[in-house]
Amino acid sequence: MMPKLYGLLKYSVILLWSAFVVAPFLWALTTSFKTANGVTGGPTYIPWLQYEPSLTGWRSLFGGAGGIDIVKPYLNSIVVTGSASAISLVLGTLAAYGLSRFDYRVGPAKNADVLFFFISQRIMPPIVLAIPFFLMLQFLGLLDSLLGLILVYIALLLPIAVWVMIDFFNNIPRQIDEMAMLDGCTPFGAFFRVILPNSLPGIIVAGLFCIIFGWNDFFFAFTLTFTDAQLLPVAVVALNSSVTPWWSLSASALISVAPLVLIAFLVERFLSRGNLAGAIR
């Protein structure tokens, strides 16, 4: 009796939370097929039954009426997120390996302090950096440019890459590197030929986190660009005025979160493998 009741309770909670998780997506999905009639008459949920579905919202994403041209911001976001994540991943993986294997001493600072410097960058509120970033990019002529955004995003993503990778490297026994070096590998050789292939799960998790935080950042893209280098979240939020039709808003929201949701389902098996919180000790 008791286990059965417990099982029922368990699945109810799981389903309840699942409903909460998917509710905004379902609402956006149904709204994206509405027209004015379907919105202003009060909330409706089921197409055909409650309202006549239309593709107006989705058409508006590609230059249709009442919408935006989403293609350019989309490509911008892909370029900036992709480049910044790739660079951060390379630099972060190298730095994390170094910190995990060698002893450094920079003045009074040792490994733990250098690691703390990397990770502590996440404490920095974006607003603290926004004003100087603005002036710095203006000085370099990189305001409203993809290159400028990539530079800024490296500062955001590099700490994440170091944070995820150091734990993976710490869990790979040092003897493996030592064996490789006894076999005549240089430290670089040991790293690239032996360690790196073994850290693929870590690299996938680190890369995913870089992509999440890069793709989803809004504030820097918002303050450091105007029109040319506009990124996707900025383009969507620009629609967030009282006159914007909900169907365009919903369609643009769905299409901009879709890629990462798909990636989540693809790399699920790697995600829960890394003991990320355990790295902060």
Partner: protein
């Protein structure tokens, strides 16, 4: 493999990342500190020397201190909720559950989505007459609520969105922690005849303590920066009811262009956050680990 050759390898690993981060972060930080001692604003832009006038001014800035209080409340409140929910959910899909891999990904989905973009959707959900929130709650006899237009509910609405967005991150960290727990203590507890509740408090929770502390701190760090959801959902309103510190500084700095004053506010904000988070981290270690010894 000793000597200068080895040293070169050592540096080649660490230096590129370290130098680039220093170059991108350090200049802006030093610059902000310098600007905070100037009276740079829209009328007289430029670096002059105004001494500590901005810092003197911020002590009497009620709106700033209120925003900090509000931010602390929202950050601690949402993170605690996220921890309880995340831990509960992680425990639910940790072991024998049908479709558990599907639910594990599903629970992670909100974290993958862009906070501002989903906030745009949430804003339509919270619409008082045209949104589904009041409509659906009305069916079970609740509401209607003024989700975004009344001071006390607006802050709850922002917190609901924050919990929706970030419980998955807490869930992910705690689930990974649970999956890496050793099996032996559970066998021992089973042999002792401990029930599920005693096993949870005597085995799972203590073993999970380091991960719990890490997860809480990581989320508190991120929550101490709440402003984007506020910007989209309420623009800090009604009045200043949902204005967080980051958003207030944004208004003073990048909208009113009081660069000098905003810089002083941000440096103070940063220092307060570092001090507060350090103290909280120490307290968490005491709460989770201190009790056992």
């Amino acid at each position: 493999m000793n000597g200068s050759g080895f040293r070169a390898y050592k540096l080649a690993f660490l230096l590129p990342g370290l130098l680039i981060l220093l170059a991108i972060i350090l200049f802006p930080l030093i610059f902000t500190i310098r600007v905070s001692f100037s009276s740079w604003d829209a009328i007289t832009p430029g670096l002059n020397n105004a001494g500590g006038i901005n810092y003197a001014k911020l002590f009497g800035d009620v709106r700033y201190w209120q925003s900090l209080g509000r931010l602390s409340l929202m950050a601690v409140g949402t993170v605690l909720l996220q921890y309880l929910l995340g831990l509960g959910l992680a425990l639910l899909v940790w072991r024998e559950v049908k479709l558990r891999r599907f639910f594990r990904v599903l629970f992670l989905v909100p974290m993958m989505t862009t906070p501002v973009v989903m906030s745009v959707v949430w804003r339509t959900i919270f619409h008082e007459s045209l949104g589904p929130a009041n409509d659906l709650l009305g069916m079970v006899g609740l509401g209607p609520f003024q989700w975004l237009t009344s001071a006390s509910t607006a802050i709850v609405s922002v917190m609901i969105v924050e919990v929706w967005q970030w419980t998955p991150f807490m869930f992910l960290l705690l689930l990974a922690g649970l999956l890496s727990l050793p099996r032996e203590p559970y066998l021992a507890a089973a042999i002792d005849g401990a029930g599920p509740i005693r096993t949870f408090f005597n085995v799972t929770l203590p073993l999970l303590a380091p991960v719990s502390i890490g997860a809480l701190i990581i989320r508190l760090i991120e929550a101490s920066k709440i402003m984007e959801t506020v910007y989209v959902l309420t623009s800090g309103g009604p009045g200043t009811a949902t204005e967080t510190t980051g958003y207030y500084i944004y208004i003073r700095g990048l909208r009113d262009f009081e660069i000098g004053y905003a810089s002083a506010l941000s440096i103070t904000y940063l220092v307060i956050m570092i001090v507060a988070l350090t103290i909280i981290a120490k307290l968490l270690v005491k709460v989770f680990i201190g009790e056992r010894t």
